[in-house]
């Protein structure tokens, strides 16, 4: 398995891990879903904003751990260049993730129109972020594995 394939798997697992832990942490402190008060909206908006740095830091830490373990175990170094194939894989992965996020975004707006509380919309944003990243990393793995 190539370094890029292993890296895609690590990112998949780290996304699963970070989102699961974060969602458990947030749900334990969350107000009722039906609560549409300004305080509840502020809570959900803050939870999404905080998710961004948490995810960046978590991914960087897990990536460093992976790099160290991989280097020690296989003596394989991280590729020094990002070539045209890497860029194409990244673009296709980002495109697929973006499509999914747009679906979730439209769904999140639609639930408001259908009369659901705003908390549902915020939760759909989180689901959209999560699934779009999963699809992006899965696409990367597939393209590195199977070619295109």
């Amino acid at each position: 398995m190539s370094y890029q394939e292993k890296r895609s798997i690590v990112y998949l697992i780290s996304t699963l891990l970070i989102y699961t832990l974060y969602v458990v942490y947030v749900i334990a402190r969350a107000p009722l879903m039906s609560d549409g008060s300004p305080q509840a909206l502020r809570f959900w908006a803050g939870a999404i904003l905080l998710l961004v740095p948490v995810e960046i830091i978590g991914t960087v830490v897990l990536h460093v751990i992976f790099s160290v373990i991989n280097t020690v175990a296989t003596k394989e170094k991280e590729p020094a260049v990002t070539d045209e194939r890497d860029q194409l894989v990244e673009l296709k992965a980002m495109r697929n993730g973006f499509y999914l996020f747009m679906l979730a975004f439209i769904g999140a707006i639609a639930v408001l129109v259908l009369g659901q509380p705003p908390a549902v919309m915020f939760n759909l944003f989180v689901v959209g972020l999560f699934t779009s990243q999963l699809v992006g990393y899965a696409t990367q793995f597939y393209l590195y594995r199977r070619g295109f």
Binding site: S2, Y3, Q4, P79, V81, D83, E84, R85, D86, Y144, R146, G147, F148
Partner: protein, 94 residues
């Protein structure tokens, strides 16, 4: 009637790709240059060279020219194209 192209190391096997290549053979004739060395000379990763050789990736024109240059052969000797396998032209009038 047999196909009009000559079978070469990589290519003609994988779904959408109609590009073949002689990279493995040319590397051998070029002082047995390794995939890693070729990758370094043309500025890509070894994985990309592996993917090109296995016809899992069609390189850009620029990269194809670079590879041919490093291997010291014209582009048409390093890479080839088989129109008989290309759905764009199969079963279509010229």
């Amino acid at each position: 009637m047999p196909p009009s192209f000559t079978y070469i190391d990589g290519g003609f096997k994988v779904g959408k790709l109609h590009l073949g290549n002689n990279l493995r053979k040319l590397r051998f004739h070029r002082d047995e240059i390794t995939q890693e060395q070729l990758a370094d000379k043309v500025g890509v990763t070894r994985q990309t060279i592996i993917a090109i050789e296995a016809a899992r990736y069609a390189p850009s024109l620029e990269l194809a020219f670079r590879i041919a240059h490093v291997l010291g052969v014209p582009l048409s000797e390093a890479f080839s194209y088989d129109a008989t396998q290309d759905s764009m032209f199969v079963n279509k009038k010229p």
